[in-house]
Symmetry: C2
Subunit: 151 residues, 2 copies
Amino acid sequence: MTDKPSIHRPRIPGGHWQNVDLLAYKQVGSAPFRDVTRQVLFDDPALGCELRYFEVAAGGHSTLERHEHVHAVMILRGHGRCLVGEEVFAVAEQDLIHIPGMTWHQFRAAEDAALGFLCMVNSTRDRPRLPSEEDLALLRRQPDVAYFIRT
Amino acid sequence: MTDKPSIHRPRIPGGHWQNVDLLAYKQVGSAPFRDVTRQVLFDDPALGCELRYFEVAAGGHSTLERHEHVHAVMILRGHGRCLVGEEVFAVAEQDLIHIPGMTWHQFRAAEDAALGFLCMVNSTRDRPRLPSEEDLALLRRQPDVAYFIRT
């Protein structure tokens, strides 16, 4: 994106848009994740928020993390599951997910389909924090959560 | 929406969501428009932005207006056309539209399909302004714009 964004950026089939760069989700090795891409759809400083699109390939997952800032998510493509706090939700196209501050969260695509989602977030935000061994032990008390965060 | 939003609000077929109210677009008579509904998907004050969903029924249109604040739009459903400044764009599902501040804009659904779109906007924003007769005369200099804003 540039300082002066294009007015109309048509969708390109397959989860892409004209004049939107396909980015790495994170630096490899900085945190655990598998097969995730990132695209910044809107980042006009006048808004104070950004709208990003993340796509998790079939069988992939985002990082298990938490932070002070909030996420406002809409599933755009495919289906899968997400962990928010100590609850696991099955999610499908156009479902809304609100991730409060300092709440553990992770997205997993289904084994047979990608999971693409929009994520609205403050432009200025704190860095994500990874779970300690103690945090993981607490999360693993619930069998469904233990299975969800297995890798 | 409440002060403490639900974590997971599944989509309900037909452009609705669990625990999201279907609202009037504007007060009838306050501005010209036809067959538009509004739903507030996310309005957590921590974000400083809101994500709204507007749906224009087939043949309907939003208000021709402008304001200081910016709109970040993604088409979610159907197709139609939109005016941004002095340009008319054909828009379809998942297209991105950036509406800069103080730029005339209007959305029109196709005659045979609704047009549903997400709109990200600052929580604190100025009120929309309607065009004067002089503004309309300037817009009507271009035949395609004159046709677009015909009613």
